[in-house]
């Protein structure tokens, strides 16, 4: 029997597969029109514009894509998805790349986004609610002592107006809430 030859998916196909549920026809239908980049309010802070990032994915530049800050700079405002003439939904691509980089343990350690997401998700797993100004735990590592002092001044202003709680709130049925989540992600330690 001759050895079979199979088609191995390209990087663009691999990422398109991760986006299967968004209904996109795949990243390779991108025409590089840059409507996504023009629609993006955070584009100036991305090391590659959304258009360029899609071009890089289609060119198979996996490492350059994973080293990019672009998807962690996405504000999830969906402006790009609203305007893309090819129905690519770049905002969903940014989510897919965040998940992909986390699952592969290839997220950039120097960016705040991954760590902030981790803290946020863990807080809600513990209590069912977020502690506002939800950002509080993240401030500590966000800007070191300087950042913390700056945030404390900001926090004091809100505190003076009665806009910061002294204790985090939590839901009543935390145990069954966690059991629910453990049915989605089957790991021992959740419930």
């Amino acid at each position: 029997m001759p050895p079979a030859t199979y088609h191995t998916p390209s990087f663009a196909e691999e990422i398109s597969n991760e986006m299967y549920a968004t209904g996109t026809r795949g990243l390779n239908c991108c025409i590089q029109c840059a409507t996504c980049s023009a629609a993006c309010p955070a584009v100036a802070f991305m090391d590659h514009t959304p258009r360029r990032l899609i071009g890089m994915i289609n060119a198979g530049l996996r490492d350059d894509v994973l080293n990019s800050n672009t998807f962690w700079t996405c504000a999830s405002c969906y402006s790009c998805s609203e305007h893309c003439p090819k129905g690519i939904r770049p905002s969903e691509l940014m989510y897919a790349l965040k998940r992909y980089s986390i699952w592969k343990n290839r997220y950039r350690g120097d960016l705040v986004g991954p760590e902030f997401s981790r803290l946020f998700v863990k807080t809600i797993m513990r209590t069912g609610k977020s502690y506002e100004p939800g950002y509080a735990p993240a401030f500590i590592f966000e800007g070191g002592l300087r950042g913390m002092l700056r945030e404390m001044q900001f926090g004091m202003k809100l505190l003076a107006k009665g806009r910061i709680p002294l204790l985090p709130s939590r839901i009543m049925r935390v145990e069954s809430f966690r059991r629910m989540l453990s049915r989605i992600v089957p790991l021992d330690g959740i419930a």
């Binding site: 802070f45 969906y78 402006s79 998940r99 986004g113 902030f116 946020f120 977020s130 009665g162 989540l181």
Partner: protein, 307 residues
């Protein structure tokens, strides 16, 4: 009395208590009753989707299933919560396998999603269900001459909405403000994201986005920015000092919830609307209301002195 299952969202208990207060007050005045969803949980914001979108759906599905037991449509005052709850409701209705999977998870909390209710944003309830005419009839202190920038933000108008809204060129916020007697200004950045989800993850980007919005509002000569979301309100108001330091600007633009403006125009007391908790006082708005109150008092005084 119209009744809704009310999803306050995490910030309603804290930074945005005044939104919560003014929503309930304005609702009561207009015959709308908000029944808080029992033991509701966080909607997951964006971080859950960053890691596992099915987990994000589970968080929203739990809230929807609790509301469904009461057979009430869900109303969310926070645009980000609204977007998440709306999205999950739409996805679960469209994909039976996903709904089945969520129901498998919800069993652990003795709940079930059937897809029988709708998810609404607070402003849509006032504009559509209550109606502008009903609002107009209740206005006793029209905000005449107050120039308001209607800030829709991003999550309110996006994404995947197939229920008749014009996401590209909505007008209902302007119309609602006009119903209170205020002047809605032409605010070019009204649909642009404020960057709230980036304030921690990428502060320079978020501050620049706040700056862009403030500049647009100031160029439109707005006396106040009206918001429909606690994250936008906090982001636009509380970080103005940081924006000014970062960019050498001198912005000082008050940012109120649209429900506070509605409440003031309907003659509801400031305290009941949570007014006084702002970091930047909405002086022009309050002066206008005070003038209207004084004018309302004046004829009575005149009558008393000349019986």
């Amino acid at each position: 009395m119209k009744r809704y299952a009310y999803f306050p969202g995490c910030s309603a208990e804290t930074v945005s208590a005044s939104y919560h207060l003014s929503a309930v007050e304005a609702g009561t005045r207009l015959g709308v009753e908000f029944e808080e969803i029992e033991d509701w949980n966080c909607c997951g914001a964006t971080p859950y989707t960053n890691i596992d979108e099915l987990l994000a759906h589970a968080l929203c599905a739990r809230n929807l299933a609790i509301a469904e037991r009461e057979h009430l449509d869900v109303v969310a005052p926070c645009s980000a919560c609204f977007k998440n709850l709306y999205h999950t409701n739409a996805c679960l209705r469209a994909e039976p396998d996903l709904a089945d999977h969520m129901n498998y998870a919800l069993e652990a909390d003795a709940l079930r999603f059937e897809g029988t209710i709708a998810v609404r944003h607070l402003i849509h309830v006032f504009v559509e269900d209550v109606g502008l005419e009903a609002v107009r009839r209740k206005v006793t202190h029209p905000l005449t001459g107050v120039r308001v920038a209607p800030y829709y933000g991003c999550q309110l108008v996006r994404p995947d909405r197939h229920d008749g809204y014009d996401a590209a060129a909505p007008r209902y916020f302007e119309d609602l403000l006009a119903a209170t007697g205020a002047t809605p200004v032409d605010f070019p950045y009204r649909l642009r994201c404020c960057g709230a989800s980036l304030m921690v993850a990428n502060r320079p980007a978020a501050l620049a986005m706040v700056r862009d919005l403030l500049r647009s509002a100031v160029q439109a000569q707005a006396d106040v920015i009206a918001t429909t979301c606690p994250l936008c309100q906090l982001n636009l108001e509380a970080y103005q000092g940081d924006v000014n330091r970062e960019f050498g600007t001198e912005y000082r633009v008050p940012v109120l919830y649209f429900t506070q403006l509605m409440g003031l125009a309907m003659g509801i007391g400031r305290k009941k609307l949570g007014i006084g908790r702002e970091l930047i006082p909405p002086t022009k708005v309050l002066e206008c209301v005070a003038r209207k109150a004084a004018a309302a008092e004046a004829p009575k005084t005149a009558e008393v002195s000349h019986p």
